[in-house]
Symmetry: C2
Subunit: 111 residues, 2 copies
């Protein structure tokens, strides 16, 4: 059987309302930058599980800290997140970032 229950419905900013300073601030934090790089490296077309990011990325931050950073990245417009059962998936919003600020994400990831 399929569960149609959308348990919380994540909110994401529209492409128009995403602010450059918010994106830069989101990327300026070492843990968040590492999250973004791990997602960029390991995520497929349908994203990657947040848990896998944590496990494979070698993060030392606590669960609540990671949750906080994901929220910052999502509200800044850097990532999209959605539920898959009890787990969460995440992917970069390249289609947004590459249009609004071409070259920005690539420059940050190439380091």
């Amino acid at each position: 059987m399929e569960s149609q229950v959308e348990q919380h419905e994540l909110t994401h900013p529209d492409a128009d309302t995403v602010e450059l300073t918010a994106v830069l601030a989101a990327l300026a934090e070492p843990v968040r930058l590492k999250i973004v790089r791990t997602v960029a490296e390991r995520a497929g077309d349908d994203g990657i599980r947040c848990l896998d990011v944590w496990q494979q990325g070698g993060f030392t931050a606590s669960k609540s800290t990671m949750s906080h950073h994901y929220k910052v990245l999502r509200e800044a417009g850097v990532v999209v997140m959605w539920w898959v059962g009890a787990k969460k998936n995440v992917r970069l919003r390249r289609e947004l970032l590459d249009v609004r600020w071409p070259g920005l994400l690539d420059a940050v990831l190439a380091d």
Copy 2:
């Protein structure tokens, strides 16, 4: 007569030691981002006077606040500053930024 006195000798980080997170944090602040854009627009090859940035850029922040932001930009590696008499000049470190993170500065300035 020429005054050989170098009144303080500004310190700038080497290209090797400049950190991406510091650059992003420096650019993530609205006033600093506006400073960078004003310098990028109006500075010639030998930079622009900080005073001109303040006057022509329409900044409302106080002197001490502006001085603080210039210091952050300089220590992050985003700008170079040097004395010309009693006034200070500033220019972007494009030769550094464009090599270390190609496309980053252009992306930020194109907005």
